[in-house]
């Protein structure tokens, strides 16, 4: 197991390299110039050129890439070209809101979607099953920003129960943090709930048709125990897979949720950096996202062994 984890961790290196090359190439061919952003409207071409030199943008692309890669290997993500703030500090500022949003979304999604999927499978073909599936289709079809606006309007503006925007850091108190994160997490959860509930229902239906379930039922095992003790555990592997791969979906969705609810997370940092062509920030954030995604998938692979002891590495 340990050697497997080590191998997987080592395998992230070429993945990161590919991501780095891809991102760097993409930024290279994308029009736009941070020097122009810094220089402003009245700048002469000479001033713009001087800024480009200061930023190292006048260097050949392979030298810039090599320099950046060397710095990354030494843990130096560089500084924002606009305000000089170290990229690592910018990322550190923004990690908490994004991680909070993702964890809260995962928590809400799993705790709602799995029971929904199980119940839908249990009550297959009934009104309850159809209602849950309609909810899932609606949840999957509604864009995050629409759900977000509806929730903010209802619970923030009309009922004044929760703030319509903003983020309170965890160190400023758990309740303010929770109040700030509930609405965006609920908005983002809708798609995720739909996805997980549907896959849970499908895998549960397949599991429920197995011989050992019929045997257990014949032995008089209670329905609750049958569903959650026998069937769900055996249906867990595909569900965990979907949860893991859905993290990518979550990253994309968090960009929207962070914009709608004005959460100062990594998603907004990425958008701002792209709009202002702040290359070091874009590269840093994308690398962080990529590493996170690889690590989440590693965790998912390891979780397989928990749910299915037949799987070993």
């Amino acid at each position: 197991m340990l050697s497997y984890i080590l191998k997987r961790c080592l395998s992230t290196i070429p993945v990161m390299l590919v991501v780095a090359v891809f991102i760097f190439s993409l930024l290279y061919i994308t029009p736009g110039d941070p020097a122009l952003m810094i220089a402003g409207d009245q700048a002469t071409p000479a001033v713009v050129e001087r800024i480009r030199q200061q930023l190292g943008l006048d260097q050949p692309v392979h030298i810039r890439f090599g320099q950046w890669l060397w710095n990354i290997m030494r843990g130096d993500f560089g500084n924002s070209v606009l305000n000089g703030t170290p990229v690592i500090n910018l990322i550190a500022q923004r990690v908490q809101p994004t991680v909070s949003l993702m964890l809260a979304t995962l928590l809400i999604s799993v705790s709602v979607a799995v029971p929904l999927g199980v119940v839908a499978a249990w009550k297959r073909g009934t009104f309850i099953d159809r209602a849950i599936m309609i909810f899932c289709v609606a949840g999957f079809s509604l864009p995050v920003f629409v759900t977000g606006y509806l929730l903010a309007y209802t619970f923030g503006l009309k009922l004044s129960w929760l703030p319509v925007q903003g983020y309170a850091r965890l160190e400023n108190g758990f309740i303010p943090w929770l109040r700030g994160i509930i609405l965006p997490a609920c908005a983002l959860s809708m798609v995720y709930i739909s996805l997980i509930a549907r896959i849970t229902r499908a895998t549960m239906l397949e599991t429920m048709s197995r011989d050992y379930i019929r045997t257990a039922r014949a032995k008089g095992v209670s329905e609750k125990n049958l569903l959650f003790g026998h069937a769900l555990k055996n249906a867990a592997v595909p569900i965990v897979t979907v949860i893991g791969t859905g993290v990518a979906l979550l990253i994309g969705g968090s960009v929207v949720a962070e914009s709608v609810f004005a959460l100062p997370g990594l998603g907004r940092l990425t958008i701002d950096a792209i709009m202002s062509r702040d290359y070091p920030v874009i590269q840093g954030v994308v690398l962080v996202f990529s590493v996170s995604y690889v690590l989440v998938n590693l965790c998912v692979d390891l979780l397989y062994t928990v749910f299915d002891p037949r799987i070993s590495y």
Binding site: D41, Q42, L162
Partner: protein, 523 residues
């Protein structure tokens, strides 16, 4: 955990979180402000972006400021003495001026800051082109020795359009003017809280207790007593307009700098909200004079005669306050010379097509750069495009984000090689006050702003304007400049739109022009 325990816990948490209604944010002496865009660069000498200027006026101070009639008034300066021949200006600093690091403001700081500013700002370059020497006679006295009299010296040092002549400590002013300073130390009414700065999300300012407002004058654009009534001002960057509106409606925020005009109807009749004036901006069309067809002055003039400024401004300003009768200057030098005869909004497009052909238009594609991420640019471009097409111009409408437009517009290459022919853009009205601030109306060829208009006559007149002995002469020359502009078309002014802000009704004391945080108080 038992189910009953879980339910009790849930109820308790719900009581703690949900049941109390949200208290308005403005209980303490904190003003919560939503800027129009992110504050990305902190140095108002190195950068011209609108939020950087706003931030600059909070943290830094200037020797002079403009009053509400655009007249320069002493700000950090106690006053000045001008020698009889007009060649020496001695500017005395006010007492009790301190930087946020506790150091007193000295004339040496002023000299270093102005030297840095003049290397970036067009007006500054003009002033320093007429300056023999700038020096500090002592810690409190700055001396300009000029080559020739220059009555606009206070106006240059007090200009409100970027780049603004802010004063910073000498050690920071030694920074290359092309490199933004990252340590923000000024002597303005607010100190910047560096530890809290989260670009794209949050900017914090504390009231600077050692700032002594002027005792005289009235609050103008950047002059007068800067009396701060809040302990703290917070900028919360909210990129989504609907969320920003909800935040002001719910009382979580106090003041939104730039709501969408379409939203103002939604808040009409809401007693908790009030619409405040937050300055204005000018929409203009920029033509590239280097390449066909707009290298041809006759074609440029035909375009002026057809452009429907009313329709464009309707699209840009909506139900807000706007006008479409502006010339190339809108401040003290404004004139109506030639406007009615130039902007005819012609609809006889068959004739127009014949005139264009006679003028030499051969149907070459016209690349219009359109930034789709800025609503006003997009609206003006769409309406403008319709007119271009009716005129028979072969328009190539190229959509992109503002970052790409910013880069493309610097290209002097032909349109087919990545260059361009025209674009609509909006700028703060402070740029259009007079020939000193309106760098867009300059026509000094490749030294000019993107589009590179070249008109020796406009440059001669501009030089004459700078040297004019009095305001009456300046007005006469500005009028001649405008008439010449309709011939050479360095810039096409489309219209001016007021920029409304949205604030909680309990805020009073808003000053004219761009958002200012002094004078404002909560009642």
């Amino acid at each position: 955990m038992k189910r009953r325990t879980f339910l009790k816990g849930s109820l308790a948490m719900g009581a703690a979180m949900g049941f109390p209604r949200i208290a308005p944010a403005q209980q303490s002496s904190v003003l919560k402000f939503i800027p129009s865009v992110n504050l990305a660069i902190l140095d108002p000498i190195a950068n011209t972006a609108a939020p950087t200027r706003l931030h600059g006026f909070m943290v830094f101070d200037t020797l002079y400021g403009l009053d509400s009639n655009f007249v320069a008034q002493p700000q950090m300066a106690a006053g000045h003495e001008v020698s009889a021949d007009g060649l020496e200006w001695r500017i005395r600093l006010r007492d009790e001026l301190f930087f946020h690091d506790g150091e007193p403001v000295r004339a040496q700081d002023v000299v270093a800051s102005l030297n840095r500013w003049a290397r970036r700002d067009t007006f500054g370059k003009t002033l320093f082109g007429r300056t023999d020497e700038l020096s500090a006679a002592d810690d409190k006295t700055v001396v300009f020795r000029l080559k020739r009299p220059f009555a606009l010296l206070p106006a240059a040092l007090g200009k409100v359009g970027s780049n603004i002549a802010v004063i910073m400590p000498e050690r920071l002013a030694a920074t290359d003017p092309a490199t933004p300073v990252t340590e923000v130390i000024g002597s303005g009414p607010f100190s910047f809280v560096a530890d809290e700065y989260a670009p794209g999300a949050f900017v914090g300012y504390n009231k600077f207790d050692r700032y002594v407002p002027r005792a005289d004058g009235e609050v103008g654009f950047s002059s007068g007593p800067k009396v701060v009534n809040f302990d703290r001002v917070e900028w919360h960057v909210i990129p989504d307009p609907s969320t920003a509106l909800a935040a002001v409606q719910s009382g979580e925020m106090d003041w939104w700098e730039a709501p969408l005009p379409d939203f103002l109807g939604l808040v009409e009749g809401n007693p908790d909200l009030t619409i405040v004036q937050a300055g204005s901006h000018v929409m203009f069309l920029r033509l590239n004079h280097l390449h066909p067809p707009f290298d041809n002055p006759e074609i440029r003039r035909i375009l002026l005669s057809c452009l429907d400024r009313t329709a464009i401004m309707q699209a840009v300003g909506g139900t807000g306050e706007w006008r479409d009768d502006i010339g190339i200057y809108i401040g003290s030098m404004k004139s109506d010379a030639g406007i009615a005869e130039t902007f005819l909004a012609r609809t006889d497009f068959d004739n127009v097509k014949r005139e264009l052909e006679a003028a030499g238009y051969k149907g070459e594609p016209i690349v219009m750069l359109v930034s789709t991420d800025i609503a006003s640019h997009m609206a003006a471009s769409q309406v403008g495009e319709a007119t271009f097409r009716k005129m028979g111009l072969n328009i190539d409408f190229q959509s992109m984000d503002w970052g790409t437009v910013s880069q493309r517009r610097t290209s002097m290459e032909p349109p087919e090689n990545g260059g361009w022919n025209c674009f609509f853009v909006m700028a703060d009205s402070e740029y259009f006050l007079d020939p000193a601030t309106n760098f867009l109306a300059r026509a000094n060829g490749r030294e000019a702003w993107f589009g590179w208009p070249d008109s020796p006559r406009i440059e001669e007149l501009t030089e004459e304007w700078f040297n004019a002995p009095d305001e009456a002469s300046q007005l006469e020359i500005a009028r001649a400049l405008q008439l010449q502009a309709w011939q050479d078309v360095p810039v096409v002014p489309v219209g001016e739109a007021k920029r409304p802000g949205l604030a909680r009704s309990n805020l009073k004391g808003f000053a004219p022009g761009f958002a200012k945080f002094w004078g404002v108080e909560r009642t």
